[in-house]
Symmetry: C2
Subunit: 197 residues, 2 copies
C-alpha cells in the first residue's frame, strides 16, 4: 500500500499542496486533473481526499499563502524610514526573490487566481487591488519629493509586477545566468527606469 512520505513538520497536506503548485504551474489549474496530482504524489486520486477538501482548496492555499507573504512585507516596508526609491527597491528585491525561490506557488497565484470560487475570488482581488495601491502610493511619494521621475504611478506598478513575473522564462531557459545576476540586472533596468537624475 502506497503511502505519502513526510518529513518532520511537514504534513501530508503540505506535500500535496506543494505537488499541486508544480502541477498547476505546468499545466494550468483547469488542465491539471486530480488523477495527475495523485500520480505525482504517488497515490490514488480518491486518497487525496483524506487530506484535502477539494481541488479548489488547493488553489486557495496557494493563492492566499503567497498573498499573505506580500502583504506582510509591504507592512514592514511601509513602517520603515528612508527614501522612497529605496523602499521600492526593497519591495522589488523581495518580489524577485519570491519569484526565484518560490517559483511555482507565486506563478500559480499570479496566473490561476481567476479560477477561485467567489467568496475567495473577491477577497483575493481586493487584496490585490489594495496591495497595488499601497505600492503605487510609495512611488507617488517618491515622485513628489523628486526621487522618482514624473510618471503615472499605477502604470509603473503594473510594469514592475509584470516584469518580475518574467522570471518564469528565466526558470524555463536552459542557459540561465545566476540568480544574483538576474536580480541585479532587473534592478538596474527597473530602478534605472524610475529614478530621477
Amino acid at each position: 500500500m502506497a503511502r505519502i512520505k513526510t518529513e518532520k513538520n511537514i504534513s501530508r497536506k503540505d506535500v500535496i499542496v506543494t505537488k499541486a503548485a508544480a502541477l498547476f504551474r505546468e499545466k494550468g489549474f483547469k488542465a491539471a486533473s486530480m488523477r495527475d496530482l495523485a500520480e505525482a504524489v504517488g497515490v490514488e486520486a480518491a486518497s487525496l481526499y483524506n487530506h484535502i477538501k477539494s481541488k479548489t482548496e488547493l488553489l486557495h492555499e496557494l493563492c492566499f499563502g503567497v498573498a499573505n507573504r506580500f502583504m506582510h512585507k509591504i507592512d514592514e516596508i511601509e513602517a520603515e524610514k528612508g527614501n522612497d526609491i529605496e523602499k521600492v527597491e526593497k519591495l522589488l528585491r523581495f518580489h524577485i526573490n519570491e519569484m526565484i525561490h518560490h517559483y511555482e506557488e507565486v506563478y500559480v497565484s499570479d496566473r490561476e487566481w481567476k479560477h477561485l470560487a467567489d467568496p475567495y475570488l473577491s477577497n483575493f482581488q481586493n487584496q490585490r487591488r489594495i496591495y497595488r495601491k499601497r505600492f503605487a502610493a510609495i512611488i507617488e511619494n517618491g515622485i513628489r519629493n523628486k526621487e522618482i521621475k514624473n510618471i503615472d504611478a499605477p502604470t509603473a506598478v503594473l510594469i514592475i509586477l509584470h516584469a518580475i513575473s518574467g522570471i518564469e522564462s528565466w526558470h524555463r531557459s536552459t542557459q540561465k545566468i545566476s540568480a544574483e545576476a538576474l536580480e541585479e540586472n532587473m534592478i538596474t533596468i527597473l530602478v534605472g527606469g524610475l529614478i530621477n537624475r
Copy 2:
C-alpha cells in the same frame, strides 16, 4: 433559425475566431467550453463545426496570427538603418499598440499557447525562441556601441515583453489613463531603464 451575422469580407469563421479570443481571454482556453462559445456567437454548439475543425484550431489561428504579425514587424525593423535604441523603441511601441488594440488575441496567444497540440506547440515555441533571440541581438548591438547599458540582453528582453503584457491590467482597470499616456509612460520607464547616459 439563428444565423451568424457577417459583414462584408468577414467570414463566419472570422466571427467565431474573434469571439473565441474574447472567451479564451476571459476564462482561459481549458475553462471555456464550446457551448459557451456557441452562446456568444448566438448559435448551437454543434453548428460551430460547420465552420471550424476543432476547438484547438481556434487556438492555432489566434496564436499563429499574432506570432506572424510580430515576426513581420521584426523583419521590417531589422532591415532599417538607424540607432539600436531607436529600433528597440519602435519594437516596444509596436508591442504596446498590439496589446492595446488587439488585446484579446495577443493576450490569448501569450498565456494559452501551452494548450496547443504538438506539431503546433513545438513550432510556436521555436518561433518564440527565435523572436526573442533576434530582439536580444538588437539590444546586444546597442550595448556594444554604448547606446545601451551593459546589461544581460536576454534578461532585458524578458523584462520588456512581460512588462508589456501588464497592459492586461490597464484594460481591466476602471480608471484608465489614455492609451497615449500609457504608451509614453511605458516608453519612459523601459527605454529610460535601458539607455546609457
